[in-house]
Symmetry: C2
Subunit: 132 residues, 2 copies
DNA sequence: ATAAATGCAAAGGTTTTGCAAGCAG
DNA sequence: CTGCTTGCAAAACCTTTGCATTTAT
């Protein structure tokens, strides 16, 4: 019943996300993919992102007021959002002390958690404070 | 140069957020405020929220794909988003182990962090699994 | 060949802006 | 009085949809 086809557009979009160092926004995905497919329309990007999400190959992250997408299967991780350049990176160290299934004071049953760290990425930090 | 005026609209909107148990979305703020100011326009809500944010009296939280606003000055805290009823609560216990100004592997300089816990709120948890 | 997928353009929502009228100072 | 604020409506944005054409199978 579901006859999903493999197309050049889908392959390119999936690869763009695979190769990214962190989650990307719709516009970024579009721009990166257009390097290979100049006629790629934004509607296809939206449709493909939705499709890949349904297939559980990528998943959306809400960060900085934007919906970003990243590939799944990179294990438990969190994000670092650079307050200077705005890029988002993936971190593999988890700073949260939470026994899974912890119950918080008040009776809140925790099933999952999401952490975002804000600050300066290595590149921006190297440029020193005040420098532009 | 900045001649900021005190108006009924601004007072009401600020109070709505003060009295809320957790962050509210634009529509919620509008609805609550309209209880007192029936002719309040949505544009004024947007403008006032931006204003209060610039004044650092409130600040935006990005949760569940929506931008919510909460008053500042409630100390360091995080949020709990109930996966059953969708309400967002404020938690005053921080599960993050982060010496302030920590530098993460790779050279990421952490200035702040945001944590969201997902699970069941006390009320929903009491209703037992499966119950509706 | 056949039907899914694409690109374009139009439609839907949400947030922002322009402007005359309404108020705070 | 003066000019910041407001409410309304139009504009700007972002995301989704409709449809003829292209393309994978």
């Amino acid at each position: 019943m579901t006859a999903r086809r493999s197309t050049r557009q889908r392959d390119v979009i999936a690869r763009v996300l695979q190769d990214a160092p962190g989650p990307l926004g719709v516009t970024e995905v579009h721009a990166c993919a257009q390097a290979e497919l100049p006629r790629l329309g934004i509607a296809t990007v939206y449709r493909t992102l939705k499709l890949l999400t349904e297939e559980r190959r990528i998943h959306p992250v809400l960060l900085d007021g934007e919906t970003l997408y990243e590939t799944v299967g990179r294990g438990h991780h969190h994000h670092f959002s650079c307050t200077r350049c705005g890029r988002v990176f993936t971190l593999h160290t988890c700073p949260v002390t939470l026994p899974s299934s912890a119950v918080y004071p008040g009776g809140f049953v925790v099933e999952a958690h999401e952490v975002t760290l804000y600050g300066q990425c290595p590149e921006c930090a190297a440029r020193k404070t005040g420098a532009h």
